[in-house]
Symmetry: C2
Subunit: 129 residues, 2 copies
Amino acid sequence: MNSDSLRPLADTLKVLAHPVRLRILALLHAGELCVCEVAEVLGLAPSTVSEHLTGLRRTGLVREWKVGRWVHVALSDDASARPLLEALWPLMAGAEAELSRDRAQARILRCDTCDPVACPPSRTLQEHA
Amino acid sequence: MNSDSLRPLADTLKVLAHPVRLRILALLHAGELCVCEVAEVLGLAPSTVSEHLTGLRRTGLVREWKVGRWVHVALSDDASARPLLEALWPLMAGAEAELSRDRAQARILRCDTCDPVACPPSRTLQEHA
DNA sequence: ACGTTGTTTCGGGAAATTGCGAAATGAACT
DNA sequence: AGTTCATTTCGCAATTTCCCGAAACAACGT
């Protein structure tokens, strides 16, 4: 009568079960970003993105660290995160059009940031137009 | 600014993101059952199980068909369901103790049902004790 | 010290989810 | 026709999710 041992997996899947968080994972699959870049690409309030990221961090799929004033985000390279992430990419194949557009916008924001520490990443997409 | 193309995958994952529905999938991995058997094994109200099953059916992971008075349920053998289901079993490995207990109870309910059509599956677990 | 900027936490309102019992449906059996 | 039993639908309360703006933090620059 108890389904407690499946709770951890269910909780992780619940975090995955949101279009924005899937988009974030796909974005990070192409490389690390800072929180404000993610917010700009997704067109969401920074506070919203921050909350999505705390969810993702709780699953262990994503890691964050401070770089100066910014918080950088990347996929976890932990062995325990691998199976789930690797299972995920093929399932997202159908959204490739949108995902590559996201990646393109992220590249625009980072077009002149050879050194991720030195270069403030906060430019908006309009400034680059 | 639109994350619509990931909506279908997110919706499917949202259905998976529940301990009871994961348990149902694992149960069906061992063979087909009827709704009342699932309810008995899980210790949940039939209406609750029915609602979980409509969710699972909507994802295409599960198929149902009527057999006399009963509704039988099984995993879909559709090709589109395969990748997700195959990705799922390894993720549930940690809950094997509970899942095998579920399978054992299902076997008890079915212990004398050689012919799934002829034999009423509605016996409670107490009747078998 | 002060202001600026990136990030998080908090408060709140709209919407979705979960579980159940009660009532409605459907299919068998008498 | 009437009964029984498996299942679904409905109504409802409790809980959670989602997004935001405002306020609080944190780290840099002057």
